[in-house]
């Protein structure tokens, strides 16, 4: 029930001072005609360029033409309203280990970041993904821009239950079919998917010029492999595959090593592709993650 923390007034008050770290401003050159993509008049002058055919004459700098007898077009740096999509993994693997409450942590982080983003009046929505039997891959809320509408995320957040396979690539493909303008995509998952799947998914988002932030959620028991010693039969909650293991120090070490490998591989990929990567291990560390780790890693400021 960690996700309920994201709607507590005291908790939200601590988020008021945070701002979503959008690393590059998403600007358009207003002087170029782009049907349906005009973001409005400029506010902050950015540069000048020579007039070219087709430029909007309204932005012609008549003072320059008077002084220099050259046609120049004034361009403005316009902060566009960013669409922020928080994609949260709601697959069955996010429900285990139960005491780690990975899904709760993911939802709390996602909702918190949405709240932070709404502070800049950005359009924010939450989306949950998993491949379930009924074919659903991605479910999302409407966009909300103002913090007054933040509470409308609550039914979505509290109504999610872990189920289905992760299906990260399928979810990204579903997301891409909307053909929306590039925005910020915050991807929260345990990334327990087949090797190469998360690379393909992230690459596809990058190709669409989305700014990506990856939050890697893992449980403490999962990372520590802290299981009671003995002979057990383990079952993959998503695939149903089973195998027998003997829990003990040796296996715990192997599990820790595997988690570390997964983490390093994801972080390396993110670093190489300019993706913000932030590990979020342990639901009880929610405040620490939000107030220390995410600012340190540039997810928020």
């Amino acid at each position: 029930m960690v996700e309920m923390r994201a709607f507590e007034p005291d908790f939200l008050r601590r988020l008021d001072r945070l701002v979503l770290g959008i690393r590059r401003s998403l600007s358009v050159r207003v002087g170029q005609r782009q049907i349906g993509r005009i973001q409005g008049a400029g506010i902050e002058p950015e540069n000048f360029k020579e007039y070219a055919e087709g430029d909007d004459l309204r932005f012609l700098d008549w003072n320059t033409y008077a002084r220099l007898d050259q046609l120049a077009i004034r361009t403005y740096r316009v902060e566009r309203q960013v669409e922020v999509t928080v994609m949260i993994d709601r697959s069955a693997s996010m429900g285990l280990p139960e005491r780690d409450d990975k899904l709760g942590l993911a939802l709390a982080l996602g909702a918190s970041l949405a709240y932070v983003a709404m502070g800049e009046n950005d359009a924010v929505r939450l989306a949950a993904f998993a491949t379930v039997r009924d074919g659903e891959r991605l479910s999302a809320t409407p966009f909300h821009r103002r913090r007054e509408a933040y509470q409308q995320f609550k039914p979505f957040v509290t109504g999610l239950k872990p189920r289905g396979a992760t299906g990260l690539f399928d979810a990204v493909s579903e997301f891409m079919r909307e053909r929306r303008s590039p925005g910020v995509v915050i991807l929260i998952s345990d990334f327990l998917v087949e090797p190469g799947e998360f690379e393909d998914a992230l690459a596809r988002l990058l190709a669409a010029r989305h700014e990506l932030k990856v939050l890697h959620v893992m449980g403490e028991q999962e990372t520590e492999a802290n299981y009671p010693p003995g002979l057990y039969r383990i079952r993959d909650v998503e695939t149903g595959a089973m195998r027998e293991v003997v829990f003990g120090a040796e296996l715990a070490e192997a599990c820790r090593r595997k988690v570390s490998e997964l983490r390093e591989r994801l972080r390396d990929y993110c670093l190489r592709h300019g993706i913000v990567y932030a590990p979020a291990f342990g639901a009880r560390n929610l405040e620490t993650i939000l107030e220390r780790e995410l600012p340190r890693l540039g997810v928020v400021r």
Partner: protein, 622 residues
């Protein structure tokens, strides 16, 4: 080794449940994980095949459960009866006539006594013994004896009676022994299974069968006939498995009037005529051939005396007067019967004579001089304040009524009507009746003998030729028996052993039994002594009013049959252990207590092990 409740072994199924729980707990638990990917580097486990783990808690629980199940099944081991000191011990002796059967110079009762004395000798000191005997009834010979001499003396004083040992008497004896720790029954025939089942004594009862199967000759009945008129008949029966000789002699007036050797086939019963006798009086039939049982070798009967006894019959109904007169003449053809209506009774004529017997039907005429009075269907009478009939009263009539059993042949007879009489204490009810559907009984026939005379009662109506109705012979038999008893000689009585007998005696009487033992009996307030001859033979009852000779006859078809099989061949009684063989008494010792104690030990040990685990786990609230 055996089990008292082997069906309880079915509870052993609970052990299977425990084992199933054990194996279920051993099954490898399945844990769901977020992804098998995290466990890719884990080595596959090396499976270790072990049938059963050494789990002390499990084995302790199995042991406790098994011990409890065994305890529920009631296991026992048999052993010599050495360890019953401090318990009460009852010795029950069959004192029926067959226990007097002699074989090799000793009676069966002698063998039983010897075995009992041996048992007493082997008992530890301090054991309390009670000696019970049963024949027609059960009685305590001596109780709570721990002193051996007195106990042996009590056993040695036992004598067989000339009566049959009945199952009811044995049941009564076993009921009296219910609280005893051990009961030893000494008898010559197996205990009926119904008696054992009813007693429900479990393994506390031990049966000792004494005597070997033997043959026997017995006189079944003796009819003296009518002197100089009709022959008498004697019936003898052989219980030998082969044809056997039987020399039979009949004496009358101390002279042998009949002596013949008969050959009787196996189990044959023969009726032999003799006479007619020359004169009435006591007739004695006896078997001269030696056989094991003597009690049924003699039989006595009284032949009617050639004396013209006057008898008066008074009834308002002419047909009843005729019927009663016929029956009286059939009982004794020497009777001179006067039959009149009460309206015709003349005090100066009929009232002036003295009668041996007066029979009054549906009327009561006072002032008749008679030795015996028989009232048949008497009219309603208020309690008589004094005289021979003091306390006698008759209430209203009931109809219809049913005759209850008073012997083997007179049960269930429907009678038209009867009157309810209140009997004085000195009268004994011989036949009872009841209204159909009602539980209250009342006397249908009664007799009393006091020094003032003899008085008999037949409470049912005999109109419409009841006494001559072939379908209602029971009423006729009851009437004849009563007439015979009322007209029998005052100084000679012939009865069956075990029957109660009232003899007018004044203040006291001296009774000499057939073995010569003398016993003084005090008369009751009506001046009579009550005796019950239990031995076959001649009793002499002497009192101030003279001597009365009592002859007790014994015969019982079941008891006289001495061919009872040994106990080992009898069918075992359900719910009770097999009778112990003679001479080797064994005792079943239950093991349930030991097993339950061991189960408790196992549970305590389990608790200790658990406590050790708890300390190791630092869980102090386990």
């Amino acid at each position: 080794m055996g089990f008292l409740n082997p069906v309880n072994l079915l509870y052993a199924g609970s052990i299977a449940v425990l084992v199933a729980i054990y194996f279920r707990s051993r099954a490898r638990p399945t844990i769901e994980v977020s992804s098998l990917m995290l466990f890719e580097q884990a080595a596959a486990p090396v499976s270790r095949v072990r049938t059963l783990r050494t789990d002390l808690l499990f084995w302790l629980e199995v042991a406790a459960l098994a011990l409890i199940v065994l305890g529920l099944a009631g296991p026992y081991v048999e052993g010599p009866p050495a360890a019953f000191a401090g318990r009460s011990h009852v010795l029950v002796f069959d004192l029926g006539a067959a226990m007097g059967a002699r074989q090799g110079g000793k009676t069966r009762l002698d063998l039983a006594k010897a075995e009992a004395v041996h048992l007493v000798d082997s008992a530890p000191s301090g054991e309390d013994f009670t000696v019970l005997g049963y024949g027609l009834d059960a009685h305590v010979v001596r109780s709570d004896l721990s002193a051996r001499p007195a106990l042996v003396a009590a056993i040695e004083a036992l004598r067989p009676m000339a009566v049959a040992g009945t199952p009811d008497a044995l049941s009564a004896a076993l009921m009296r022994a219910q609280t005893a720790g051990r009961i030893d029954v000494f008898a010559d025939r197996p205990i009926p299974s119904a008696v054992l089942a009813q007693a429900a004594l479990g393994d506390r009862i031990h049966f000792h069968q004494v005597g070997a199967p033997a043959g026997n000759l017995a006189i079944v009945s003796l009819d003296p006939g009518v002197p100089r008129v009709s022959p008498g008949h004697v019936t003898v029966k052989s219980f030998y498995p082969l044809t056997h000789e039987c020399e039979l002699a009949i004496e009358a007036d101390r002279k042998i009037v009949f002596d013949r050797a008969l050959l009787l086939g196996p189990g044959e019963q023969a009726t032999v005529p003799f006479g007619p006798l020359a004169a009435g009086g006591l007739v004695h039939a006896r078997i001269l051939t030696p056989d094991p049982l003597a009690a049924d070798n003699d039989r006595w009967a009284l032949a009617p005396l050639n004396k013209a006894d006057p008898v008066l019959v008074v009834s308002p109904d002419r047909t009843v007067r005729d019927d009663l007169a016929r029956i009286l003449l059939a009982v004794n053809r020497n009777f001179i019967v006067t039959a009149i209506s009460p309206a015709d009774f003349r005090r100066s004529v009929e009232g002036a004579k003295r009668y041996s017997l007066t029979v009054m039907h549906d009327c009561f005429v006072a002032g008749v001089k008679t030795d015996s009075l028989l009232l048949v269907y008497p009219p309603a009478m208020k309690p008589v304040p004094g005289g021979p009939l003091a306390g006698f009263a008759v209430a209203s009539a009931l109809k219809p009524v049913r005759m209850l059993a008073s012997g083997a042949s007179n049960a269930g007879l429907e009678l038209d009507s009867a009157r309810v009489a209140k009997l004085p204490d000195w009268m004994a009810r011989t036949i009872s009746g009841e209204m159909p559907g009602a539980r209250v009984t009342f006397p249908l026939a009664a007799v009393g003998m006091i020094p003032q005379g003899r008085f008999g009662l037949l409470a049912f109506d005999v109109r419409r030729h009841l006494l001559l109705d072939p379908d209602k012979l029971d009423a006729l038999v009851a009437t004849i028996n009563l007439v015979r008893e009322l007209t029998s000689a005052a100084d000679v009585r012939v009865v069956s052993t075990g029957a109660y007998l009232d003899i007018p005696a004044g203040k006291s009487a001296r009774v000499v039994d057939p073995t010569g033992h003398i016993k003084e009996l005090a008369a009751d307030r009506w001046g009579r002594v009550r005796m019950r001859p239990m031995l076959a033979g001649h009793y002499t009852v002497s009192s101030g009013s003279g001597a009365v000779n009592v002859y007790a006859n014994y015969y019982n078809a079941s008891e006289s049959d001495l061919s009872a099989r040994p106990a080992a061949e009898t069918v075992e009684t359900a719910g009770a252990p097999a009778p112990a063989p003679v001479g080797a008494p064994r005792e079943a010792r239950p093991l349930a207590t030991v097993l339950v104690a061991l189960a408790l030990v196992a549970l305590i040990a389990e608790s200790v092990v658990l406590l050790g685990h708890a300390r190791r786990w630092r869980a102090w609230n386990v």
